[in-house]
């Protein structure tokens, strides 16, 4: 992927990595609104195992950035109570798979409280979930759990694919009056890109996809950790004479159908790319929707390139699981560019 390292330093003032952009987003949100409280395991003095909350306890005190006992349902459950009292909790789940103990609180309360009370009790909660693989983590440290959250009405699901979006989307998430599951692609934490920390205020808003790369012959629809993969694939595809468009969804819920549909109608072909297992994963919804709304524009079936339909593999094998550039290009090559086609069994 073509990335431009920013001329920022590694200090809080001039974040350059996605991790630093996220820290900065929380810091700015906490400075702007005393209702914003951060809580989770090890978020205080340690600054979180990924150091995303680094410095917050120091700057805002331990009452604003609080180490909790080790219990995810308790963390999210108390955050619900805090939100009922008007606070804006930002909860950190230490890893994707450790969000599962909080699933009942998420589904039965966080997602439903506004609806349950006919709007009287909104849930301005942000739940930060470092997700995905590629960092050599052992079992339970590489899950992509976004399909669960997408299937839960009442939640928003955001995920940045770039450093700039990490800042902007997290600010938007914290500002939202609805609960946001904020999925942080952990293998992009240390990525640097052309984000100007001097102008961090550009917030793309919730529910807006972006065309990351314009193209004419096919659309790659993707998000989060697969954004750089698709960008790289699009570059590589030029050699084959394909001019690929890359749509970064950024927001899985709300889903920006208009941007996706517009792109695919124009290019006539689409590949959906994500790291989460394919079966009943996010790509199902996206491909089905493209199929429905772009039917008469499609020159080929909508294909999906996804993680394998397996539990997240051990570090030494994860490279075989992750959808990489080659698999994306392979899918593109199967988009029936020839007049003659045969359909598989």
């Amino acid at each position: 992927m073509t990335t431009t390292a920013v001329a920022g330093t590694a200090t809080g003032r001039k974040p350059a990595t996605m991790a630093q952009a996220l820290t900065r987003a929380m810091r700015d949100a906490m400075a702007a609104d005393p209702a914003v409280h951060v809580l989770g395991e090890d978020v205080g003095q340690l600054g979180g195992v990924f150091r995303i909350t680094q410095g917050l306890a120091e700057e805002f005190g331990e009452d604003r950035c609080t180490d909790t006992p080790l219990a995810e349902a308790g963390i999210l459950g108390t955050a619900v109570g805090m939100a009922m009292y008007g606070l804006r909790p930002v909860v950190e789940m230490q890893f994707d798979a450790f969000g599962y103990p909080a699933f009942e609180q998420l589904v039965s309360h966080v997602s439903r409280m506004r609806n349950r009370t006919r709007g009287a009790t909104p849930m301005p909660l942000t739940i930060r979930v470092p997700y995905g693989g590629g960092i050599g983590g052992v079992e339970h440290h590489g899950d992509s759990s976004e399909a669960y959250y997408m299937a839960t009405p009442g939640l928003h699901v955001l995920t940045p694919g770039t450093v700039a979006d990490a800042y902007g989307l997290l600010r938007a998430a914290i500002a939202s009056d609805d609960p946001v599951v904020f999925m942080e692609p952990k293998r992009l934490y240390w990525s640097k890109a052309g984000w100007d920390p001097e102008r961090p205020e550009e917030v793309p808003g919730i529910g807006r996809a972006v065309v990351r790369r314009q193209g004419t012959t096919a659309t790659l629809v993707t998000y989060g950790p697969s954004v750089p993969v698709c960008m790289e694939a699009a570059e590589a595809a030029r050699e084959e004479g394909w001019d690929l468009e890359v749509v970064d969804l950024r927001s899985l819920v709300p889903f920006d159908e208009a941007t996706v549909v517009e792109s695919v109608r124009r290019t006539g072909r689409a590949v959906v790319v994500h790291e989460s297992p394919g079966f009943a994963g996010p790509g199902g919804e996206i491909a089905a929707r493209i199929g429905e709304r772009c039917f008469h524009y499609l020159e080929a079936p909508v294909l999906r390139v996804a993680g394998l339909d397996i539990p997240y593999p051990p570090p030494m094998l994860e490279k075989h699981h992750l959808p990489g550039v080659d698999r994306v290009l392979d899918a593109v090559s199967r988009l029936q560019w020839e007049a003659e086609w045969t359909e598989g069994g």
């Binding site: 308790g74 108390t78 009922m84 009292y85 349950r116 009370t117 609805d178």
Partner: protein, 385 residues
């Protein structure tokens, strides 16, 4: 290098360096017997006005339970979990709180909400089936009736902590059943509360059953109140049918919480006189002979005996209590026999602050369907075909 390699090094068996108990256990342990006041000399110190007030609330509470049960038989409520026999807990929980405090009821505790002043029709909205919550929680400082057991307990802790951090004088009282204490959320909530010293009171109504499952299959603990010591908070064991004991102990716990003393776990021993809900058949798992002794230990009878024994209840007072109860029941009948007014568009209005595009499309679809039904003249009462 091991010690062995250091000739001459003395062996000092020191205690593990960091050890000290974080708090003394003994003061946290509950009484060995449920605490009672009524019928003892301690009851004589109680304010007569308070006793009469509690009595009136119990009588109204009983009538409320009866009326809700009748309405359910008549098909006006989808389901009703009765608190007949548990009125003392319900009333005491409500009365122990000040206006600024919050109540976190379980699905069974509509009476506590009503005793706190909530309109019964609002309290019963969930059980009637027209919406999930019939009131604005913040307005009444009553959290939504909570069906997933014990999940409301961390909410109470979080709310109390938020208030504490803001410097507000607010206590949260959260109710849960004996069955609910087995859930992980019970454990996590109590632990958070104790570590953070949040102003919360946990009231366990031990009514003997979780649907069909008796307490002996739920716990092997000496009492549920004994769980408190494992969190470092005091446990109190009380006779939950003794309205005065419940009121006293809960009030004390609320006081303690507001004074910065942290949370308390109160187990109120009571009994579920009715079946789990109208849909349940209690004869499948308990005999009438098990229920019988509890009839003699009825919360209203206990308080009434105290009052009459001490000449504090005139027939006129009792009549007034009954009249107030009847008035409440009449209002319930009148308003719950009327059909609920429902707007199907509410289905979409509150999923998010702003509906998604998908929801807007679905809203249009339903609007069109309703319009078509109206045109066909068969809109009302039409079932999904």
């Amino acid at each position: 290098m091991t010690v062995l390699e250091q000739p001459g090094r003395a062996y000092h068996p020191a205690p593990p360096p960091a050890w000290k108990p974080r708090t003394e256990a003994a003061p946290l342990l509950p009484d060995p017997e449920p605490y009672r006041v009524l019928g003892t000399s301690a009851a004589e110190k109680a304010d007569a006005g308070l006793l009469r007030e509690l009595y009136g609330a119990l009588v109204t509470g009983r009538r409320y339970n009866e009326q809700a049960t009748t309405l359910t038989k008549q098909g006006r409520l989808a389901v009703y979990p009765s608190t007949t026999g548990q009125e003392a807990c319900q009333v005491a929980a409500a009365r122990a709180l000040r206006p600024q405090d919050w109540l976190f009821p379980s699905y069974r505790d509509t009476l506590a909400a009503v005793a706190r002043g909530l309109d019964p029709v609002q309290a019963l909205t969930l059980l009637r089936g027209d919406w999930h919550t019939g009131y604005d929680p913040a307005e009444h400082r009553i959290a939504p009736l909570c069906t997933p057991l014990a999940t409301q307990l961390p909410h109470a802790v979080g709310l109390a902590r938020a208030a504490m951090l803001k410097g507000d004088d607010v206590v949260a009282l959260a109710m849960v059943g004996d069955g609910g204490t087995s859930e992980g959320d019970f454990h996590e909530a109590l632990n958070f509360a104790a570590v953070w010293r949040t102003p919360v009171v946990f009231l366990v109504q031990n009514n003997g059953f979780a649907i069909s499952v008796p307490l002996a299959k739920q716990t092997a603990a000496p009492s549920l109140a004994h769980k408190a010591v494992g969190y470092g908070m005091p446990g109190r064991l009380i006779d939950g049918n003794d309205a005065l004991a419940a009121y006293e102990v809960l009030t004390e716990a609320v006081e303690r919480a507001r004074g910065g003393g942290g949370p308390t776990l109160v187990e109120a021993v009571t009994y579920r006189m009715d079946a789990h809900t109208n849909a349940d058949d209690a004869t499948r798992y308990r005999t009438d002979s098990e229920v019988e002794p509890w009839r003699a230990h009825d919360p209203i009878a206990l308080l009434e005996a105290e009052l009459t024994g001490r000449g504090l209840l005139e027939e006129a007072d009792a009549a007034a209590a009954r009249a107030a109860a009847e008035e409440l029941a009449a209002g319930m009948r009148e308003r719950l026999h009327a059909d609920a007014e429902l707007d199907p568009m509410d289905l979409f209005a509150h999923v998010y602050a702003e509906p998604t595009q998908q929801l807007r499309e679905q809203e249009s679809m339903l609007r069109a369907e309703l319009a078509a039904e109206l045109e066909d003249g068969d809109g009302e009462g039409e079932e999904t075909r």
